[in-house]
């Protein structure tokens, strides 16, 4: 029989945030997740599949293998899109397992100096302190708008730094006005039916400020008073995905305090990733006696903006918007929150709008938070395929529900050289409302 080359020892998963045995062994390796996984579909390899990644977690747990770099690479190749979780008949909490696994990796194998500095800057500085992030985006915006970029491109200096060159080319367009959370209150149009708080988020207000304004307008148009608390911060989703759960907990506590104190019926977000993360604050803080209950209460208040609008129900615009639109399911809406109908309901409420479904609409576009930066090749492959599917519909507009997806597909459209507009579902609703009576 086969010689066993692997050591049998103790589990390398230890301490806080260790993947739980019960969760690991809820996987019965039936394989029904395989074809839902974008990286498995792209590669055809079990090593890049959810079942394979769980097998590696089990092997670590059983002490058959350590937290070797080779093992970690396969986990890092996971988009954390959670498509596998949505189709798993056995109910494996894959997202939680992967987040905890990443937390173990982060603590025990912090990686190279370069990586450590990068992750410290991103997870411990920029995301918890949005002022710093804004400053960085201002600098990048200056770079894009001034002559420096042209100069850099003319000298081809970036070709000397291949990684940096690609990152530079994939920078989103930063010319749009910022959206600021400064405690403003927007009054409901007509009778006030609800009072809701809006999560501003981290990257979204800086890259897609106008979409945030649109979110405010569609909410007020639907009888909501909208407050945008000044003390809110980033939701911490990227930190959680990157294994920085302690930083994520601090960010969660801050948001819980801010939003629970806002006196609102619901906390609404236009970012699917943030919604998924905030709906799971209860899991993140379950061991914190001071916050566990508050986190549960908070998580129950969180709603994606399409979920909230669809539940009202959303008011149909009075004037048609004659466009063809294809919808790309944001993973953290479709899989993590299992919401596929609400965004379509909202689009369906717009008269004249024709929704043309694309193939594989719920397959990840490859954005995956920091994935775009850390796993460029796979991210690019998925982006290309997503654009192909979208273009094949003939629609000139791709609607989605998450800032990461928007940036990814904007980049894809730019690379493919196609005139296809990418926007959020609420952008279209807002456009239709604004055309009323015109």
């Amino acid at each position: 029989m086969v010689e066993k080359t692997w050591k049998v020892g103790v589990s390398a998963f230890q301490g806080q945030d260790a993947p739980q045995e019960e969760d690991l062994y809820s996987c019965v390796h039936c394989g029904l997740c395989l074809n839902a996984c974008p990286t498995y579909v792209e590669t055809g390899l079990e090593t890049e599949s959810p079942r394979g990644r769980i097998a590696l977690m089990k092997a670590v747990f059983e002490g058959r293998i350590g937290l070797e770099q080779g093992v970690i690479n396969h986990w890092d190749a996971c988009l954390q899109c959670r498509a596998c979780e949505a189709v798993c008949p056995s109910g494996v909490p894959y997202g939680r397992l992967m987040e905890q696994t990443q937390a173990q990796v982060k603590r025990q194998r912090p990686g190279s100096m370069f990586g450590r500095i990068g992750s410290w800057v991103a997870y411990k500085q920029l995301l918890p302190n949005l002022g710093q992030l804004k400053l960085l985006v201002r600098v990048l915006r200056m770079y894009q708008q001034s002559g420096i970029r042209r100069l850099v491109h003319a000298t081809r200096i970036l070709q000397l730094l291949p990684g940096i060159g690609e990152a530079e080319a994939s920078l989103p367009d930063l010319s749009k006005p910022f959206f600021d959370a400064k405690g403003q209150v927007h009054l409901a149009r007509g009778t006030r039916k609800h009072r809701v708080a809006l999560l501003s988020g981290c990257v979204m207000p800086l890259v897609h400020g106008p979409t945030m304004d649109a979110a405010v307008r569609v909410l007020t148009r639907n009888g909501c008073e909208v407050v945008v608390p000044a003390d809110q911060g980033c939701c911490g989703a990227l930190n959680t995905h990157g294994g920085e759960r302690d930083a994520a907990r601090d960010m969660a506590r801050r948001n819980i305090d801010t939003f629970l104190g806002a006196g609102v019926d619901a906390v609404v977000t236009a970012s699917a990733g943030c919604g998924a993360s905030m709906k799971e604050y209860d899991v993140l803080l379950c061991d914190d006696p001071a916050y566990a209950d508050k986190a549960t209460r908070f998580s129950e208040m969180v709603q994606d903006i399409t979920e909230f609008l669809a539940s009202l129900p959303v008011e149909s615009p009075k004037t048609p918007l004659n466009v063809q639109v294809t919808y790309q399911d944001s993973c953290h809406l479709a899989h993590a929150q299992r919401l596929t109908a609400p965004p379509r309901t909202v689009l369906g409420a717009i008269p004249g709008l024709e929704l043309v479904e694309m193939e594989h609409s719920d397959r990840c576009c490859g954005a995956g938070g920091a994935y775009q930066l850390t796993q460029r090749e796979m991210s690019g492959q998925l982006r290309t395929h997503k654009l192909e599917d979208a273009i094949a519909t003939g629609a000139k507009i791709i609607a989605t529900a998450n800032p990461g997806c928007m940036m990814q597909m904007e980049l894809g459209a730019k690379q493919a050289g196609v005139a296809i507009k990418v926007c959020h579902v609420v952008d279209l609703l807002d456009e239709a409302y604004r055309g009323e009576g015109a």
Partner: protein, 478 residues
Amino acid sequence: MEPLIKELRQALGRRYVMQQPEELLVYEYDGSVERAAPQIVAVPADTEQVSQVVSVARKHGVSVVPRGAGTGLSGGAIPAMGGILMPLTRMNRIIEIDAEQRMALVEPGVVNIDISKAAEPFGLRYAPDPSSQKACTIGGNVAENAGGPHCLAYGVTTNHVLGMETVLADGSVIWVGGRQHESIGYDLRGVLIGSEGTLAVTTKVAVRLQSLPELVTTMLAIFQGEDEASAAVSAIIASGIVPAAIEMMDKLTIQAVEPAIHAGYPADAGAVLLVEVEGLRESVVEEAVEVQEICRASGATEVRVADDPAERERLWAGRKTALGALGRLAPSYYLLDGVVPRTRVMDALRRIREISEEYGLPIANVFHAGDGNLHPCILFDERIEDEKRRSKEAGGAILRACIELGGALSGEHGVGLEKQEYMDLCFSEADLEAMARLNPGFGSGETFNPGKIFPTGATCVELLQHPAITRLGLDAFV
């Protein structure tokens, strides 16, 4: 090992020849309880590369085990003797759909359901539909002669494969059968289908497509107990109706499925039957009414009828994911595939209940009731040695019971590692010998998937001493 790796890498490229522990670890399992790791994983991209892998392996005296998606339930794709594991998952192109000839030519790594999806615009489908159809590959289906709920009316994989391109142990590429519906000479296609990768490797498959039915009606009949449900099955068959599928789920399965899928199965039901009739509109409408009447007469407390696709899919979703859902009840399951004459289903279920009590392990039943293909699912915890041992013993007891009732070891999952020790329960030595002669006939030797199908012990040495091989001579073997 080093020259072997080098030659494989020259053929396939570095990335697709794997030998690190973490790479081998994830290829040691399939959907069954068995596991064994390969020494090398080689993932070819086309027929040429398959042929190269086989030739290199042969040259170095190493065996090759072909693998599809690894959803098999008998350990067919588990490299029991180590060697090279060769997943065909990168070969996943649908090469051609010939709507006029009702034929699809596909590579072995194509996922079962993707054939039907590609054929749908032409009003066609590929009929066999294993429960894992969203993940399993056609190559694996061919190797195991897979079935599925709808095989009641249409037959299993072998009834739907016209021909295959195949790589033999010497690396040569041949066709068995063809694209046409008729063929002459020996039916080698029939020989290779179900040979579990022990004789050759399939690299292309020409499958038969059939017309989508005009109308499909799915009915969910709810019963207080398995006996009433079994009686309904017998009565439906006796009435002369041949439904496209008749599936039964017992209480334990319903309890696992409902929280997972919310298919709308009542939590307190003792058993449910899923009956599907399809075909021309008039006959389907008539048959559906008759099925409902029979179910009620047999004691169904409720019969739900769905003929719109969404509702039908919801009723089916519970059945198609039942196995995985059982993972909610226990960390491991041992799923059997025994067959009994459909008139003996009630007796078989009774025996299974007794065995469950005797071995102290819960057993769920979710199966193709229409053709008596049982799927008793023994729930246990693989981390507890004693439970693992008891699960195997209980499985053996169930298989023996099936044979005693006049049935067979396997309906659609293949023999693999799981059932080889029970083969002599239903085959005589002469029967097995006749089968073993195929190996020298194809010149496969120990090249492909050694240690499968035949009763444990029938390995290289014993085969060499086998009367058939003594007579045919060693030349035939190599």
